[in-house]
Symmetry: C2
Subunit: 416 residues, 2 copies
């Protein structure tokens, strides 16, 4: 097994086939993805500056600035990069790097914009778990192209301790988004995440789970069968190399990726203090629409949703269907939601006078127009003027001796 | 029994006690409230112009303009004004007129402002059922003062075919608004209206039902016991004289009064096409806050609520509690809602580094700081720097051989 220094040497000497991304670059980014926790803006800047290969060489040889070296700590001595790449290969995964064609450069550009705005002094920078920093590389398990599958994608996030209501809504959303050619991106967790993924799978659509652990042992293990199905038609994606554990702080770092990879984030159920709200915050900071499904005000699992909707400055949009989600994230013109269907009534469009005459008509015994005028409070001539229109609309009928309400129409099915 | 002409003559001759509103004015407005359907802007203007007594005289004697006379039609020949006033007296009701001290002039001023903006030509005017026109007079049944009881009031409206969820929420809102000294104003209907009134009554608070029929026979009869209780501590209010039937078009006219009398309108449940939405529209046009309670997106009875909330131009506010309602309609500063309670966690406020070290700690067997540094990806000195703070916060403990996570705190109740 070659050390990383040998591999980078070889790559630099020109052993890599020119059509493919330099093997040294991939090896270097594999090493970096384990050496320093994702979301560290100073490392990202250093790699942007000197390139991944030189960044690794200088870190390993001790010539990198002390501030950069301290980011890795004792991990700088370790090298599992080749083991990680082989472990990935064994579980059907690969490492996608920014130098690859399938790197989702366009959606992730928002993270680059945010990262360059971070102050230089580490003390003034956003906490790493909150920071918007592009990933160093993405470990990807599955057979579809990363950039293609997330081109038209929506994040669907929510509580793990979801209710039957939330799971139903997430499943329906996932299914309908999948049917309409949209990819559901979520976190693979129990509750809302799982229901959204399953809905998409049921529609035969690819779905993407963005994990905070290695793609070889997706967490939680109880969703094992689900992860297997996701990897068959969609993708498992992680910034952490194979074998990594889903530590708590990693969930927060992961959330920015769900927000960044998608055109918008839907929050289905969220408690007052929840990761789903955190993801919504990332999406909002990245300028992506935040869409929120309301729920019963009696449900603790909708408190976070309603808080997002009540915050006017935040600018979240209430959604009740996949069509409304697509309208919010899709292209203007081509993805408009149908307005909510309304039942129409024959009373629609009647003038005030006609409505008053109609309301004056008795149900059974017909009365004279003079009586209708007295009840409706209008002139007899007015009554005589509107009665023909009411009769044509089947709202009133002439009994031979007077006017009365027409009986309600027979339901169309009742005749057969 | 005196004819209205005789009564107006007597009143003009000065038989009325000066401390009280001219008996002629009350008799004239009683007559007008039956002769012309409420919400008719041209009659309101005529009465503003010539005064109620002269308006009645001219209508009766045929000297009023033809356009005004046509508003009453054959009703101009009838005079039930004295009968109506006596019928009201018999059921414990009175006629409150704009000339009375208890007339709610301030809240109803918004209707005056809207009415004067109506075009002069009848063809260009808003349909009567939609028009915002002040009432001619209000038939009021109950023992409390109209202007006082609605001074701090909120309209609570919603579907008659409500769900258990909607009724629960309306009842809770009514109860909590009542407890906090706010009067619930609603329409006395089945469903949301009734639940809101009952909630207020259960809190021992007065509540006001604004009806579209006579206060002597409130509709629906099935709410008879409820109306009886409302009249004992609150008020039944109507623009229509005793004996009038709740014709359909009258509900629409009535809705503007609920909107105008209150500081804001809360919509609890509303189908896609509903009277509650109509009331919300009136409130919005009058510049009063429209507050909307969300519900499950799977419920047809919340479709109208969610539509109101999705309409950005409409400007409705999502509310989930009485406190949030009061915050929206109350005085700035004195009626602020408490923020939603959040559970606080000892992890709150930890630095990124501390969180990483904490996540690196094993549950059972303690490990050395060097091992923690390797797992957390930071320097050993950093680990040694944050461990004391974590120990003080009872998050980690020293086992004698290494550091591990502290066991979760025992619930305070378990010790006893």
């Amino acid at each position: 097994m070659s050390t990383i220094e040998e591999a980078l040497e070889e790559a630099a000497a020109g052993s890599a086939t020119p059509e493919f991304v330099d093997a040294g670059v991939r090896r270097a980014r594999a090493w970096l993805s384990r050496a320093v926790e994702p979301g560290t803006v100073d490392l990202w800047r250093y790699v942007e500056d000197v390139g991944p290969v030189d960044a690794v060489r200088r870190l390993r040889s001790g010539t990198a600035p002390a501030g950069i070296r301290s980011l890795a700590g004792p991990r700088v001595e370790q090298d599992e990069s080749l083991i990680d790449l082989r472990r990935a290969e064994r579980c059907g995964a690969r490492l996608v790097v920014p130098e690859d064609d399938e790197w989702p450069a366009l959606p992730l550009h928002a993270l680059t914009v945010a990262a360059v705005q971070e102050p230089a002094d580490r003390k003034d920078q956003t906490e790493r778990t909150q920071a918007l920093v592009p990933p160093m590389a993405l470990w990807v398990r599955g057979n579809v192209c990363l950039d293609q599958v997330i081109d038209r994608s929506v994040g669907v996030v929510g509580s793990r301790a979801s209710t039957a209501y939330g799971e139903h809504v997430a499943g329906e959303l996932g299914h309908q988004l999948g049917e309409r050619g949209w990819t559901v991106v979520s976190g693979g967790a129990f509750g809302i995440d799982g229901a959204a993924h399953r809905g998409a799978l049921a529609a035969g659509a690819p779905t993407v789970a963005v994990l905070s652990c290695g793609v070889d042992r997706p967490y939680p293990a109880g969703n094992g069968a689900l992860f297997h199905r996701i990897a068959e038609t969609g993708l498992l994606v992680s910034e952490w190399p194979p074998g990594c554990a889903p530590l708590k702080h990693r969930f927060l770092v992961r959330n920015r990726l769900i927000a960044a990879l998608t055109r918008g984030t839907v929050v289905v159920e969220a408690a007052a203090r929840s990761g789903a709200q955190a993801t919504a915050n990332r999406a909002q900071k990245l300028g992506r629409p935040v869409l929120v499904v309301p729920g019963p005000v009696t449900s603790a699992l909708s408190v976070g949703c309603h808080e997002l909707l009540r915050d006017e400055a935040f600018g979240a949009t209430l959604v009740t269907s996949a069509a409304q989600v697509i309208e919010a994230v899709g292209s203007i013109g081509s993805d408009l939601a149908d307005p909510v269907a309304r039942s129409s009534s024959p009373r629609d469009g009647l003038s005030d006078l006609a409505v008053r005459v109609l309301d004056a008509c008795p149900v059974r015994i017909g009365v004279a127009p003079e009586r209708l005028a007295a009840i409706a409070g209008c002139d007899v001539l007015d009554v005589l003027r509107v009665l023909p229109a009411l009769e044509l609309a089947d709202l009133v009928q002439w009994t031979g001796t007077g006017w009365r309400l027409a009986p309600p129409p027979t339901p169309s099915g009742a005749a057969s």
